[in-house]
């Protein structure tokens, strides 16, 4: 009798516990399901020594290194969530973070969703490379924008197509079909690549367009760089686009791409930095794809840190705003020294100058923060 009443009690306790858990789950779900659950973050946070950022997963390795170095000298903690560019922008829109990071500048719709204007500071540059699996081909494959667009549109379907053979003279190309691998998840990498294709091919622009997810006319999707790389490595005759850093670290072969000036450029840190050495507009929202620079790799892109121009919102302190701006300023100057080791392209001098000017335009309560 005693034993069984004990059992009942125990199951009661367990039952009540589950009831509480599930009720709290229900109340969470009932909150409209919006993606911005956290309110104890950027706004009016008492701990001004911890900044919060979210966005681009491409930036994450560099940011981790930079933030840990900055923490050593300045004692400032930065909590960066690598959730993807789009999610970073929406978190900035919801004011749950101090800064967002994105591989693509904000578009009109995203801009209009903000309560105040946001500024873009170029923070690093990266490239998207075309990796391929052609065991027979020993030389580096050459690609022109035209051929590249043709391959990804599905109009060029065989490796020994006359158009590919014409630019790869003397290379024995197999008669196998081309298998295209693209990203299946929405990503900044796709955005850079499709922006490039839309620029160089009117067909691509009208049929597919640009975006972090597009309606791919042909090909297989892989999740993340590793997914695309996996498909390329496994499938003979495959070609796919991945980030330069990923391709270098995994020693995958990648093609030289002809740029606007007509030169075939090997993607590298140097050629990406070169791509960024162009006239940069005052707001820095420029796409480096199809760059005018003669020695620049054409499928390059800046990555930006996004902050509100007016830093006084949600009871943020001047102290917090100053710390944020100083951090970003450090990132585009001293922080750049960590880029190369992680296969990121350091910012070009032009980009740093523009970034400085943009940072100075940030205000707190109408007054400039950095002098």
């Amino acid at each position: 009798m005693k034993l069984s009443s004990f059992k009942i009690k125990r199951s009661l306790v367990a039952g009540v516990f589950f009831a509480v858990v599930s009720v709290s789950l229900v109340s969470c779900g009932g909150g409209g399901g919006s993606t911005s659950g956290s309110d104890s973050t950027a706004s009016g946070n008492s701990d001004d020594n911890t900044l919060i950022g979210a966005g681009s997963s491409f930036d994450n390795p560099l940011f981790s290194k930079q933030f840990s170095e900055y923490n050593k000298t300045n004692g400032l903690k930065v909590n960066y969530q690598s959730v993807g560019s789009g999610a970073g922008i929406s978190q900035l829109t919801n004011k749950t973070v101090d800064f967002g990071a994105s591989d693509a500048p904000m578009n009109g719709k995203q801009d209009s969703a903000l309560t105040g204007p946001a500024i873009h500071i170029p923070i690093t540059a990266g490239a998207v490379v075309l990796s391929y699996n052609l065991p027979e081909v020993k030389d580096t494959l050459l690609l022109t924008p035209d051929v590249l667009a043709g391959i990804f549109l599905g109009t060029i379907t065989k490796w020994n197509d006359a158009k590919i053979a014409a630019i790869n003279k003397g290379v024995k190309l197999p008669a196998t079909g081309i298998v295209i691998a693209h990203r299946s998840d929405g990503s900044g990498t796709s955005n850079v690549f499709t922006t490039y294709l839309a620029k160089v091919s009117t067909d691509w622009n009208s049929k597919v367009g640009k975006g972090s997810s597009v309606n791919w006319p042909v090909g297989l999707g892989g999740k993340g760089n590793e997914g695309v790389a996996g498909l390329v490595k496994q499938t003979p005759g495959a070609i796919g686009y991945i980030e330069l850093a990923y391709a270098v670290q995994n020693s995958m072969p990648y093609a030289k791409v002809q740029n606007k000036a007509g030169n075939y450029i090997t993607p590298s840190i140097a050629s990406v930095t070169a791509a960024a050495n162009i006239q940069i507009p005052a707001d820095s929202k420029v796409s480096l794809t199809n760059t005018d620079a003669a020695d620049g790799y054409p499928i390059s892109s800046f990555s930006w840190v996004l902050i509100y121009k007016e830093q006084k919102y949600n009871n943020r302190s001047l102290d917090r705003a100053t710390k944020l701006l100083k951090l970003i300023s450090w990132m585009i100057h001293d922080g750049q020294q960590f880029s190369s080791a992680l296969t990121y392209a350091p910012l070009s001098p032009a980009a740093v100058t523009t970034g400085d000017a943009i940072l100075k335009s940030a205000t707190y309560d109408g007054k400039p923060i950095l002098q």
Binding site: S22, G86, A87, V208, G221, K223
Partner: protein, 328 residues
């Protein structure tokens, strides 16, 4: 009828009766007992109420999820209408969304997986339930089957990509299909492996529950083992076996990670079972984080709603079939 009162007991020769003992200790004892039984009743009530709350919470949860899905997909329903279900283009750039390729991919891969898995799961169920219910080998087999259910799906995805896809590619190059390996067929194979345990363990317990007198009667009439299984065991357990299969189908419909790694993730309509495709769950998982436009996000949530409804409809149909089986 002689009645006598002795030591607080009224005894009748044919029927002993008890009267209340009124000594102080006895009263105390009775009170204690009454208190205890009162507590027991209260515990009973609380327990009953807890069970009821639990049940209600589940109902509220399901309705809450449904409601959230409906509310969040309203923008997409408003702008795309019903043709969302059968329109064939999924183009986030131009804000055109059609769920048909993914609906097709989901149903195709799940039912194909079911077809592949049924022979295995039923065979395992019969083997473990009828032929060898005890012993080290059946125990080992039973644990192995249960382990299949316990392995995280991402591991199946990896294994599928590394081992299964090259085999399928090899097969494809022999039968003259474009040898890409990934596709609906590969994902169905992976799904089939993943869902075997559900139908197999339910089927096994159903088969062990077949009353032995039925089987013994059949044996007594000279039936062979195969005949007993065919005419006694299977007819007796068919609703249970079917329920197990339904359970596996539910799992297959919603499986995300393993499928997305081997299905090829394309928004094109699959032309054959070897072609790449995509499923609803996999599209949601892939595109949710970067859905930066309100209609896009809402279209993805509507995809979730469609998946929810497909699961509900298939379950309802399954219940109907089970009912018919049992009422026969």
């Amino acid at each position: 009828m002689d009645t006598s009162v002795e030591n607080g007991m009224i005894t009748r020769s044919d029927l002993p009766l008890r009267v209340i003992n009124s000594t102080p200790e006895a009263i105390l004892k009775t009170k204690k007992r009454a208190r205890r039984s009162f507590r027991q009743i209260r515990t009973e009530n609380i327990f009953k109420r807890t069970l009821m709350i639990m049940g209600l919470v589940m109902v509220i949860l399901v309705l809450g999820i449904l409601l959230t899905l409906i509310v969040q997909s309203l923008p997409s329903i408003k702008s795309l209408g019903l043709k969302y279900l059968w329109s064939k283009v999924w183009d986030p750039v131009q804000d055109i969304y059609g769920a048909w390729p993914f609906l097709l991919g989901t149903l195709l891969s799940s039912f194909l997986a079911l077809l592949i898995s049924i022979p295995f799961s039923i065979a395992i169920a019969i083997f473990l339930g009828e032929y060898h219910p005890k012993g080290w080998l059946p125990d080992f087999l039973k644990n192995a089957v249960e382990l299949i259910a316990a392995v995280p799906s991402v591991i199946y995805g990896f294994w599928g990509l590394a081992v299964l896809v090259p085999i399928v590619r090899n097969l494809e190059s022999h039968i003259g299909v474009e040898p890409i390996g990934v596709g609906i067929f590969s994902s169905s194979l992976i799904l089939a492996i993943m869902i075997i345990p559900y139908a197999a363990s339910l089927g096994r317990s159903m088969i062990t529950m077949v009353p032995s007198h039925l089987k013994e009667a059949a044996y007594g009439l000279g039936a062979t083992r195969w005949e007993v299984i065919r005419s006694v065991v299977l007819p007796y357990t068919k609703s249970g076996l079917f329920a197990g299969i339904l359970l596996s189908l539910g799992r297959a419909l919603g499986e995300t990670m393993a499928v997305t790694m081997v299905i090829g993730n394309t928004s094109l309509i699959p032309k054959s079972i070897f072609a790449p495709g995509n499923t609803m769950a996999s599209v949601i998982a892939n595109e949710f984080t970067e859905a930066d436009k309100p209609v896009y996000l809402s279209a993805l949530i509507e995809l979730g709603l469609v998946l929810f409804l497909v699961t509900v409809v298939i379950n309802l149909i399954g219940k109907k079939i089970i009912d018919r089986f049992t009422n026969e």
